[in-house]
């Protein structure tokens, strides 16, 4: 019980469980602990919202690299092609 009580006020542990819940899964006990904590903690409730948003933004950031159209320079490609050619000619 004292364990549960300290959890109710422990934002460090709560944010840990929030992250774990978002990317994995919680045990039954962890779920209860977190729910109780969030009922009484506005700051961590805001943290949940922000953390989810950050995950979405990261996904977007990763998924849209074509926005800044990255390609290799022709010179580098040329040099690479020559290296490959040399390797192929060895055999």
């Amino acid at each position: 019980m004292s364990n549960l009580k300290s959890m109710i006020y422990n934002c460090r542990q709560a944010t840990f469980l929030i992250e774990k819940r978002m990317l994995g899964s919680l045990t039954f006990r962890e779920r209860i602990e977190l729910r109780i904590h969030l009922t009484g903690c506005d700051v961590c409730t805001l943290y949940v919202k922000q953390s989810q948003k950050i995950n979405e933004m990261i996904k977007q950031l990763f998924k849209k690299p074509e926005n800044n159209k990255v390609t290799l320079e022709d010179e580098f490609k040329e040099a690479m092609q020559q290296k490959i050619q040399r390797e192929l000619n060895k055999n």
Binding site: S6, Y9, N10, C11, R12, Q13, T15, F16, E19, K20, L23, G24, V43, C44, L46, Y47, K49, Q50, S51, K53, I54, N55, M57, I58, K59, Q60, L61, F62, P65, E66, V70, T71, L72, F76, K77, M80, Q81, K83, I84, Q85, E87, L88
Partner: protein
Amino acid sequence: MTESAPDTRQLDPHNWVKHYADYLYLYTITRIKDEEQARDLVQETFLSALEGMERFAGKSSERTWLTAILKNKIIDTYRKRSSGLKIVDVNEPESTAPDFFEADNGHWKKEYAPVSFSMGSEEGLYNKEFNQILQKCMQKLPALWMAVFTMKHLDDATTNNICDELKITASNFWVIIHRAKLNLRACLQKNWI
């Protein structure tokens, strides 16, 4: 006669650069934010592929095969970058990063407690500027954290997989995810408001 289409089940190294160099480079640069290193990895991929040509079984497309070789090289790079950071003691308080919580009771420290990002509306988050700040904040993360983050969010890799490939334990994985997010969020709060 079939022109060497990119989905051919045979290897055609003469056309690798033409067909795949840009694709592989893009794949790399989204995972390794270092142009020089990304270029080198693409080149190494082609050279390794040449050496391993007899191991190509024709079961996947040429592009898939090359990407698999590249992926291994990227993970090697993550490992190298993060060597020395590998051991994260779960019980040890953050030593390099600031601790966002009171030591005795785990409450948010006042100066680090989350405050609403933009005028009370989270809508403002969808914003180019915010994206740039996010990118900068991510670059500040330690290499191992960044690797874990990238693999989880970009490749949707399973936790087990990530732990295996980066040689970390499951509990370390969650500690890293937690710390990375706390630091990222704090960095955003500091630079956005």
